[in-house]
């Protein structure tokens, strides 16, 4: 699925990779780019609307901001797997290299969500977190599905 939101900010999209799929989020802040990329991750799975019925909180640490991005996505993938949930809204705060994230969603319903795939993990391939000349932050990597 292509670009879903109005540019310049914030927004998300996916991009092609050999066997899997790349996701990219962007926004006015680093946090916003992480939140948008999380929406792109959900977009890889389903086109359906997701009700924000339950919230889950996670925390991550990493040696640099790019690894922190992978940790954040892997935290979402883990919560999806063990709670059998799918998430449609995300809030991120980052202090230094410590991330606190909240995600809202509902139990997976195969009829309603018809998930196209099940993510195995976020990878370091095509991993990039950067601020552009216009101040826009973007965060991207490949998801192994």
């Amino acid at each position: 699925m292509a670009v879903q939101s109005n540019t310049p900010a914030p927004g998300w999209e996916d991009f092609p990779h050999g066997a899997d799929v790349g996701i990219r989020g962007w926004g006015r802040t680093l946090e916003q780019s992480f939140e948008q990329a999380a929406l792109a991750l959900t977009g890889v799975l389903t086109d359906a609307d997701i009700e924000n019925r339950t919230s889950v909180e996670v925390e991550c640490d990493a040696p640099d901001v790019e690894v922190l991005f992978v940790e954040w996505l892997n935290a979402i993938i883990y919560e999806m797997a063990v709670r059998n949930m799918i998430f449609g809204a995300f809030k991120v705060t980052i202090n230094g290299l410590h991330l606190r994230g909240t995600m809202w969603g509902e139990p997976v319903d195969q009829t309603k969500h018809a998930p196209a795939c099940e993510p195995k993990g976020a990878t370091y391939t095509a991993l990039r977190v950067a601020q552009g000349a216009d101040g826009t932050w973007s965060a991207e990597c490949i998801i192994d599905v």
């Binding site: 883990y78 059998n84 195969q110 196209a116 795939c117 370091y124």
Partner: protein, 476 residues
């Protein structure tokens, strides 16, 4: 790919000469069309793997190769622990011990035809597939550890499988050296309710018909005749393997730096085999291998139950169970043949040739079955490991068709509903929770599996034995 960058050894052997930091050459097996169509990233990743410490002889790449994670998918590389050799989580893959098993039903296509739809519905209802599906089996901590050390043997001891299967599974159904204490609680939690589930992506359960025999002797030994019906299952170590891959990849980043290994790509994160992290990963990876072996054994058991309902006399004997995301300690013809090496196969199948002592007696004369998954529409192949594969590729061959097109592009090119209808018109029934998932796995998104196996045969890695076409495909 730019062919001028290779030394062409013969029509299907393309060598990347060792330059710069490369310690050994890279060798890609493919015909001219396949290699021309391969992503440039395959070249880059092959060269990168050839730079890792302790790499032995050459890095080999199979005809179905494509851009992977650190290693190319379709990559084979071996490392010598005594020469600073490494173990790489990316070289095994996120889905540890993902693999294929094929079972012989003893039935003919004419037996299936009258109940094809009911059989498809029954398999789809009873084998959990896709995100959001959970199995009927829930493991407590003791059972989790028993599964992680016991593999298919554990599944059989709990009533999900048959003892006679063990000879037909790599490692006789149980990977030695598994250490559940090296597997995190998070990885175990992710697996607690996932035993006996198929997963999604390119994983499937298919009912297939034998359409063509290429090698009568091998087909005879394998029990394959024209029009026979078989069941093939493609899946791996589910959430447990994925979590282990994720966690150890992260842990190997500083481990590689601490060992003074300059990584050309972060995804190549690895640790010396003779290091604390390396040994822990081996213990965890082998436990995940057992998880995959147990999982395929359980799904095979479900298939037996369902077939037993429709065909009370059908036994579903296991032809073979192979893994194509592995690292195994093996002896090969190297400078010191007595010294075991750590062979990574990422999207590559072990392919022991005729006479190999590890093969069960009934298969030894013709070589190991190599099970090649194609796409939903084009079918699959059964190959036999060739004698020459030992010298050519540490006894390895291809594993599938390999994608030719991204999911993104496939989704734009095809409608899942139309594919399901077109295949149904051709007698192939698809059952999947997601029409979008079907579009992403469209037959046209894959390479020509026929060209891939032909190249493997011409290169001398494996011989074609039989071609299979799908009758029913359960897709996650």
């Amino acid at each position: 790919m730019d062919l001028s960058r290779f030394t062409r050894i013969d029509p299907t052997t393309w060598q990347i000469e060792p330059t710069g930091a490369m310690r050994v050459p890279g060798i890609i097996y493919a015909d001219e069309n396949l290699i021309r169509d391969m992503d440039e990233k395959v070249y880059e990743q092959t060269a990168n793997v050839a730079m890792l410490p302790g790499v032995v002889k050459a890095v080999y790449v199979m005809p179905d190769a494509h851009w992977g994670y650190g290693f190319p998918i379709g990559g084979v590389a071996a490392f010598d622990a005594d020469e600073g050799g490494v173990i790489s989580a990316g070289g095994v893959g996120f889905d540890v011990s993902c693999g294929v098993r094929t079972m012989l039903t003893g039935l003919k296509v004419a037996d299936i035809n009258p109940v094809q739809k009911e059989l498809a519905d029954s398999l789809y209802q009873q084998v959990p597939v896709g995100l959001g599906s959970k199995g009927a089996i829930v493991l407590d901590p003791q059972e989790m550890d028993a599964m992680l050390t016991g593999g298919a043997r554990w599944a059989i001891s709990r009533g999900w499988g048959e003892t006679r299967d063990l000879d037909r599974i790599e490692e006789h159904g149980q990977m030695a050296g598994a250490d559940p204490s090296c597997v995190s609680d998070r990885a175990k939690e992710r697996q607690r309710r996932e035993m006996g589930t198929l997963g999604s992506g390119n994983h499937y359960l298919e009912v297939q018909a034998v359409t063509e025999i290429f090698d009568q002797e091998a087909a005879g030994a394998y029990g394959l005749k024209p029009d026979d019906v078989v069941v093939t299952i493609h899946c791996g170590s589910r959430g447990l393997g994925h979590q282990i891959g994720t966690e150890y990849l992260r842990e190997m980043l500083p481990a590689a730096a601490a060992a003074g290994i300059a990584l050309p790509d972060r995804e190549l994160a690895c640790a010396p085999i003779n290091s604390e992290v390396g040994q822990r990963y081996l213990g965890a990876m082998r436990a995940a291998t057992n998880c995959a072996l147990a999982n395929r054994e359980i799904i095979g058991h479900y298939a037996r139950k369902i077939f037993g309902h429709f065909f009370p006399k059908a036994e579903l004997a296991l032809l073979f169970d192979v893994s194509h995301n592995t690292c195994k300690v093996e002896a090969h013809k190297t400078d010191d043949a007595s010294k075991p090496i750590y062979v990574h196969r990422k999207g590559a199948t072990r392919a022991f040739g005729p006479g190999h002592p590890d093969l069960p007696k009934a298969l030894r004369k013709v070589g190991q079955p190599v099970l090649i998954g194609g796409s939903m529409g084009t079918g699959s192949y059964v190959l036999a490991g060739a004698a020459g594969s030992e010298d050519l590729s540490f006894a390895s061959a291809c594993h599938g068709a390999g994608r030719a097109m991204s999911r993104h592009t496939a989704l734009r090119a095809w409608s899942g509903r139309q594919i399901i209808k077109d295949l149904a018109d051709r007698g192939i029934l698809i059952r999947s929770p997601s029409v979008r998932g079907v579009a992403e796995e469209a037959p046209g998104a894959y390479k020509d599996v026929g060209a891939v196996v032909m190249a493997a045969e011409e290169a001398g890695l494996a011989k074609r034995v039989a071609r299979l076409r799908p009758l029913v495909c359960i897709k996650g």
